[in-house]
């Protein structure tokens, strides 16, 4: 039987293997942390070794990097972009700003805690995280995928209403469709 539990497990295993070794990162530099992405992706650190490569559009990407602070203006676009990505999708939050506001905790234009608005799978410590830390973030995500714990996207679907409420709270003029997979 193809659909029984054990074979599903094997299929999942294979899928997870493929997913973790092929993380396509959406090319969206949302904040300062983006400056360490080029070094990570280029010759000195070469994240492509781990199967991490850039993807030009959200449709093709698996991984959204929130590289630091998000202004409300960007948040609106990020939500849109995130929803356009195809399952399974992951989010990595870079540095202090995504965790608790970082140095912009008192700015009127930046959000403080990213996980109120998007499900975050991995946080990387640093301001900004250096390439080693970024790669460590990728490997941590890979571990989570293997363990089947990188389920941010599922959580997002499940708690969509809660996320929407928070999102609408900080984005004054909500002109987006209610959901755009």
């Amino acid at each position: 039987m193809i659909n029984d539990k054990n074979s599903q497990k094997i299929v999942d295993h294979i899928h997870n293997f493929a997913r973790k070794h092929s993380l396509w990162v959406l090319a969206y530099g949302t904040g300062c942390g983006a400056i360490e992405i080029p070094p990570t992706m280029t010759s000195r650190y070469d994240a492509e070794r781990l199967g991490v490569r850039g993807a030009a559009t959200p449709r093709q990407a698996d991984l959204l990097l929130i590289t630091g602070y998000l202004t409300t203006k960007t948040l609106k676009r990020v939500i849109r972009v995130y929803e356009q990505m195809q399952d399974p999708k992951y989010v990595i939050g870079f540095g202090s700003c995504t965790i608790n506001g970082g140095m912009y905790y008192d700015s009127y234009n930046t959000i403080n805690a990213l996980d109120r608005y998007l499900p975050v799978d991995v946080y990387i410590n640093g301001c900004m995280p250096r390439p080693e830390a970024v790669i460590a973030g990728f490997t941590k995500l890979q571990e989570l995928i293997t363990a089947g714990k990188a389920d941010g996207a599922a959580k997002y679907k499940e708690k969509l209403e809660w996320y929407r409420k928070n999102q609408k709270n900080v984005i004054p003029n909500w002109t987006m469709p209610e959901y755009n997979w």
Binding site: R44, T98, N100, M103, D106, V122, N125, R130, A136
Partner: protein
Amino acid sequence: MSFFDLKGTLSPFSALKQFGRKPHTIQYPKEDKEAADRYRGFHYNEMEDCIGCGNCSTICQNAAIDMVKVEGQEASKGDSGLRPRVDNGRCCWCGLCVDVCPTGSLSLTKDYLYVSDDADSFLFTPGLDNPGGKDNVSFFSTKESSLNDFARIPMPELEGKERIKSFAEVVLGYNEAEARAEASRCISCGLCSEVCPEHMHIPEYINAIAGGNDQDALRIIYDNNPLPEMCGKVCTRRCEDVCAIQTRGEAIAIRWLKRYATETADNAELIREIVNPEIKEANGYKVGIVGAGPSGLTAAYYLALRGFDVSIYESNKQAGGMTMYGIPKYRFPEDSLQKQIDYITSIGVKIHFNTSVGKDISFEEVYKQNDAVFMGVGFLKPWTLGIEGEELKGSEQAVTFLHAANSGLQVDVGDKVAVIGGGNVAIDAARVSARMNAEVTILYRRRVEDMPADWEEIEGAEDEGINIVPQAIPIKFHSDETGRIKSVEYLKAKMVPDEGGGRPKPVPIEGSNTIVEVTAVLGAIGQQGDYSFLKGEFEEKIKTERGRFVVNEFQQTSDPKVFAGGDAVNRTADAISAIADGYRAVKGIEEMLMKKA
């Protein structure tokens, strides 16, 4: 452009030769490149060195550092018991916290790696969460790079030779710029105010001075100290011992700053105008105070502010107690004291001078006339040396000597004086003698660094040409044919470490007898209380223990109506403790009387 750009087509292919080159990729996580020696990674806090001043928390522009209670770190003198905790969801690793850490306990390490799926796991207590960080410290604070100013603004003073010519005040005081600069060194932690017996609001008034608000500073000071000018000049300033800056540098000159603040008002009216105290309506209670020393004056002032009817009984003709009669005038001029006493009397405190309780008026009378009594009687009776020849002419007690000198009486000590002892009284006596053109020698049992006197006083004495002979134990005074003292014989001592862990003990070396020629000897090895005025039932009622009154936290003696303070109560025996006693007694008296009502 040429018809066909051959070079432009072929030259780029030179890039292909890179194929043969070894890639320079760092194969993290397979191989790791260590962070630089100065890398700013996670914090590390040396828990034992940290004093919990919270300066890191103040400088942090991200509000990332919280001061929290940490297990195993208890508050103690000079340590708030709190330790920094960093929110790595805020931190930007600028390292300012390291650069402002006065102790240098906080540093950054080479570690920087932390990834987690839990956003709440980024709170981090340096030192506790990374005990191994010590070996990894990379960005640390040195005295050179630190943002703290470790050097005190030097206090202008009279030259050593100049000052022994008269009793003019030695310390000249900061000018405005110096005071601002000195006050600006303060990091406002408040560790000082904890050890201050009176818990003065030190960071607040220093901040006020730094900001140029001298009058506010004075107002803050008068909140719980009615004799700030005295404290500003002669306080033993234990606050400076725990100053956060003092851990690696020179403490903030808290005393001199207080002195500066008090100089904003040069007469009692001005003080009153600046402080503008709120005086409560008379509540009908009467309080009698024995002794117009610091504790008595303090109690009187705050009681008067609270609407009590206060009378002080003072045996001398001037108020101030030991600060008047014990402290030489070059340290604490009389008009400074007078100004403060004028201010205290201006708000309604009555002082009965030349009224010695026990002689001119009996204690019982005082006790009956008032609803409460406060005793700030001090230690007047000096300890004697108990060696041969002490009764000789020319052998005197330093306290007596100082009393006489401060009362303006002529005292003849001749031209060679030996002072025995190492406390402030000894130094005072020595320096007063020096001003009487005597050649002074101080004999002290232990080493110079063991002397209980302030180091500034010792230095001052040395500047004035006073010879300090440490490790000298007098054994005999020799007399000349007129019965006057001629010389002091002493034994040299060696320091033997104490097995119980206490400070080393001086042990005389047999046969090391040395004789020093003198015209007078001043003994200054301490004083004790004289409670002969307590007669009859009071002798029983008011308990003493080891020469001191037994009091509770409100300075209440075993007779609920009687309170006591000052040297006769506390062991530290300094002005500020006396003031603290007085202040506490005010609360006690108020509590007792108002509650009863």
